[in-house]
């Protein structure tokens, strides 16, 4: 039995067809085949070597943010449609791949491959950014909270939005992948850049991990992509106190 903690040896993610000018085209992600374990020994003949590919907007590749690109393949490349995957222009995304050998033993994730997608569909507004959350009231058991976000003033291609009303649709979900079917509107779309809500009244429970995301919607119907998610642990008591405080000596630098 080989060490389970194997990892890619010499893997190199590469992307080709990723520099075109339109998103609605098939792109390709490729990587080097994995043939050895981390200790350098070859993977036994007859062992199936498969791969799972993911993308995320999180440069740290936090597990809960990874969205599957290919759930399982024995090939060393994958074709995908950025628009269908929810990848939008002007938001850097990161690809990563892990190996699955035989009965399901998995490697760690490969180093991330960053990609700056080209402009999205003309006419679509930029996605809202800088989502934040603050408690503003404590009178109800779960408190009253305010979500905020930055105003959207440009289209995804960077040009200014003129003469149109921008509304914001705010959603929450417990699924870090933000699949469309899981998104629950937090309120009716608003022209404001803040939204007040009561977690309990919105269906959230204490200690639950939820994700907020926003879309900008023009009065002419065009919608932005979803914003990056804001992760929040539904709480009304705040973090626990740091522990094990002690004085230590540090070498001067």
């Amino acid at each position: 039995m080989k060490a389970k903690n194997f990892f890619f040896v010499g893997i190199l993610l590469s992307a080709f067809g990723l520099t075109q000018t339109a998103l609605a085209e098939t792109k390709y992600l490729a990587w080097d085949p994995v043939t050895t374990y981390t200790d350098g020994s070859p993977i036994e003949a007859g062992q199936t070597v498969g791969y799972k590919a993911y993308w995320t907007q999180d440069p740290w590749l936090a597990a809960e943010t990874l969205r599957p690109l290919v759930s399982s393949t024995t090939a060393t490349s994958a074709a995908f449609d950025p628009a269908a995957e929810g990848i939008v222009g002007y938001q850097t995304v990161y690809f990563t791949v892990k190996t699955v050998v035989g009965t399901g033993t998995e490697s760690t994730f490969s180093a991330a491959l960053p990609w700056d997608p080209p402009a999205a569909t003309p006419g679509a507004p930029s996605a809202p950014a800088d989502l934040g959350i603050t408690r503003i009231e404590t009178s109800t058991p779960s408190g009253t909270w305010q979500l905020s976000w930055g105003p959207v003033t440009t289209y995804a291609n960077g040009t200014s939005i003129q003469g149109k009303t921008v509304r914001y649709a705010i959603f929450w979900t417990t699924d870090a992948g933000l699949p469309t079917a899981s998104l629950t509107p937090l309120a009716s779309p608003t022209t404001q850049t803040t939204l007040t809500f009561d977690p309990a009244a919105s269906g959230m429970t204490g200690g639950q991990r939820v994700y907020f995301a926003a879309k900008a919607v023009l009065d002419t119907g065009e919608e932005s992509a979803l914003s990056a998610a804001l992760s929040w642990s539904v709480s009304n008591k705040g973090p626990g106190a740091p522990g094990n405080g002690r004085m230590v000596r540090k070498n001067k630098k």
């Binding site: 440069p59 740290w60 590749l61 936090a62 990161y94 180093a111 991330a112 491959l113 960053p114 934040g132 959350i133 603050t134 408690r135 909270w145 204490g206 200690g207 992760s231 929040w232 642990s233 709480s235 009304n236 008591k237 705040g238 973090p239 626990g240 106190a241 740091p242 522990g243 094990n244 405080g245 002690r246 004085m247 230590v248 000596r249 540090k250 070498n251 001067k252």
Partner: protein, 146 residues
Amino acid sequence: MNRSSLRLTVSLITLIGIIFSGCGGGGGSAVSQPSGSVAALAWDPPRVAADSTPLDPRRDLDYYEFYLRTDQNFTENDQPVAQVAAFYDVLSPNGKTFVRELTNEFTMDNLLPFTEKGKRYYVSIRAVGVDGLKSGFMVPVAWDLS
């Protein structure tokens, strides 16, 4: 307060500390340190919320507040003397992405402008979540400036 503002705040406080400690007199104190080392406060970041539900410090914490008193009776009325971000980013070996490391140490020299030589101080910290909620005070730690 957003993270970049926090980092700026800490940087400014640190700069002030350097300036004051360099003065060697006046209101600030020049504390003798063993050669080649400085005192630092270390702690374990919280892993649970105050209601005992799980907490991910990399996602749920924003920054820490530092408090200083000459006794251990920290109260909600106390004002923090410094802040530091709850994590920092380290460039990964591939040079393309960052790894998020948790802050769990703070050089006490940064607090010297708020002290007097020869006194015993107690330092405590509070964790502040991304939603602005604050933890209780960490058990105070003695800091002797003699």
